[in-house]
């Protein structure tokens, strides 16, 4: 699977732009602020129905305009597939596959998978546990729609349960049996989520270890651990034991919304004990393992989106990484860098052709006609 052409209309800093892509390595180069990352994000939109960087659709519209359109032509199993995403202020986002509207965006996710590696991924190391759960959700929901549904149910039930706890506090009346009605639903969707996550991690961790060793040349010992209260305790019992505490705090203190992934290097947290290069290598291994996992599950090679990948990695690791992803196992690659010369040099060394787009030099059509979609 690869993307053949990408058309943007009023998407972020691009009024109108078309790029024709190579089915192997593509590089968008130019100074910071020229919009090269926006091109990767546009492809992410067509894959995941949303921006990787900015969850508010309307904020991705060009300044002063009220809509954007992203069109992409993909090749999937030798067939041409036209995907279109259009966002208009205060209107429902419209997603089309071969001119046919999707009823549910979730039906699209996973058909044209992408894996993005970006400096923003650093929140996985630096940020709270919700960032790492989001990673789990993003990967698993690409192949498991039951998981997606269970997650929506779980969050809704959790919100209702917390609202009920707040009512208990306001009225001074605690009705445990009424709370248990909600627990029933929380437990059933919580168990589906826990089991999916645990099954995923069992297959995912060896892949992660493999890629870390490959990029780092086995320089250090790393470890990823899935941590969930449900692993060692019965969910029903946990909720029961936490009853008084939850009533006091008007918040559900136990469940899969407390799950986390522990990242360790030589037995210590990566956040405090890993160098910048090690942290970056860690995150790249996380993503490449994700790539391989999705490829196996969905039977299609995701498009690899590499944003600013050379930053903070030593030359040795950069060469290893690019040699790795340019090999047959991976498919199409879209990457960004500030220097076209550096990209040329790196790919010359590993003997791989690369199509370079100097984004700050692309002549931009200013015609204001609305493209067909």
């Amino acid at each position: 699977m690869h993307i053949q052409s990408l058309d943007l209309y009023q998407f972020r800093n691009f009024r109108q732009l078309q790029v024709i892509l190579s089915d192997h390595v593509n590089a968008f180069t130019g100074a910071n602020g020229c919009g090269k990352t926006n091109l990767l994000d546009a492809v992410h939109y067509l894959s995941m129905c949303k921006s990787y960087f900015n969850p508010a659709d309307s904020q991705n519209i060009s300044y002063g305009e009220n809509s954007f359109i992203i069109n992409g032509t993909f090749i999937l199993n030798d067939e041409e597939e036209r995907i279109s995403c259009s966002v208009r202020l205060n209107q429902r986002k419209i997603f089309k596959r071969n001119k046919k509207d999707y009823d549910r965006l979730s039906d699209h996710i996973g058909i044209f998978p992408t894996v993005m590696i970006a400096p923003a991924d650093h929140v996985l190391v630096e940020g709270g546990s919700e960032e790492r759960r989001r990673l789990l959700d993003m990967v698993i929901s690409q192949y498991d729609h039951n998981y997606l549904r269970a997650g929506i149910n779980y969050n809704r039930t959790l919100a209702q349960r917390n609202a009920l706890l707040k009512q208990f506090q306001q009225t001074g009346r605690k009705d445990k049996s009424l709370l248990q009605i909600w627990d029933e639903q929380l437990i059933s969707s919580g168990k589906i989520i826990y089991e999916s996550r645990a099954a995923f991690m069992t297959e995912y961790i060896p892949l992660f270890n493999y890629y870390y060793a490959l990029i780092s040349d086995s320089a250090e010992q790393v470890e990823m651990v899935y941590e969930s209260q449900l692993e060692t305790h019965d969910f029903e019992q946990l909720l029961d034991l936490a009853f008084e505490k939850d009533c006091a705090s008007t918040y559900t203190s136990t469940g899969i919304h407390k799950d986390d992934l522990l990242f360790r290097i030589s037995g210590h947290p990566v956040k405090r004990f890993g160098s910048q290069g090690q942290q970056k290598t860690f995150l790249i291994a996380v993503k490449l393992a994700q790539f391989e996992y999705i490829m196996k599950k969905n039977n299609v090679k995701p498009i690899l989106l590499l944003d600013d990948i050379f930053d903070k990695l030593d030359d040795h690791r950069v060469a290893r990484l690019l040699g790795l992803v340019s090999a047959d196992k991976f498919g199409q690659i879209l990457l960004t860098d500030t220097s076209a010369d550096r990209v040329k040099e790196i790919f010359r060394k590993i003997n791989t052709p690369v199509k370079i787009f100097e984004v700050d030099k692309i002549p931009e059509s200013t015609a204001a006609s609305t493209p067909e979609f």
Partner: protein
């Protein structure tokens, strides 16, 4: 205009159109129109059995002696009664719950017509309670609440089937619905009976 815009399904543009229309109408026409509203509100009663709106003590459905009193279908509101009646498939009775349990919106079991339901079950010949609530978290929770509440009575407690739409291709059904249809399959003979 603001009064119109408060109505469900009426935006500010439509409200403005309605106001402009009424301003053009003759005075006595407008008066008739407003009288109809006032009469509707003061004449409307609720059926003392099923709590549907009714102009008399008992609604048409509850008065109908040919209907099966041993079947009781629990729905959130009267729109659901109309939807099920339009199928011409069901000949039992109804009970209007008045919503579903929803703490975020401040709706608890005490705000729903649950006590009247229990009273009906205690005094009448109900054999089966059919839960016809939405497939949302709130709907399912309300069904579970009633399942517990009605456990002590010797009842057949059922829920409407959720599955593949008639005429739908399996490959286009979402996985959750399809999965449920497989798990809750029915004997073929009973599907012939319909």
């Amino acid at each position: 205009m603001n009064q119109f815009a408060r109505l469900p399904g009426i935006g500010r543009k439509t409200a403005l159109r309605l106001v402009l229309f009424l301003l053009k109408e003759k005075d006595h026409d407008v008066e008739r129109f407003s009288n109809a509203f006032t009469r509707m509100k003061s004449n409307i009663k609720y059926c003392k059995e099923c709590l549907n709106i009714s102009e008399e003590e008992l609604c048409g459905i509850c008065r109908d002696t040919r209907r099966d009193r041993s079947l009781l279908c629990v729905v959130p509101d009267l729109r659901d009664v109309m939807a099920i009646e339009n199928t011409h498939q069901y000949r039992g009775m109804y009970h209007i719950l008045g919503g579903v349990i929803n703490p975020i919106e401040g709706t608890g079991p005490q705000d729903l017509n649950i006590l009247p339901l229990v009273e009906r079950i205690e005094k009448a010949e109900v054999r089966e309670v059919i839960m016809a609530l939405p497939g949302t978290v709130e709907g399912e929770t309300t069904t579970f609440f009633l399942f517990r509440r009605l456990k002590e009575y010797n009842l057949n407690f059922t829920t409407i089937a959720r599955g593949i739409g008639v005429g739908d291709e399996l490959e286009f059904a979402d996985e959750v619905t399809l999965g449920r249809s497989i798990m809750q399959r029915i004997p073929y003979e009973s599907s012939l009976a319909r």
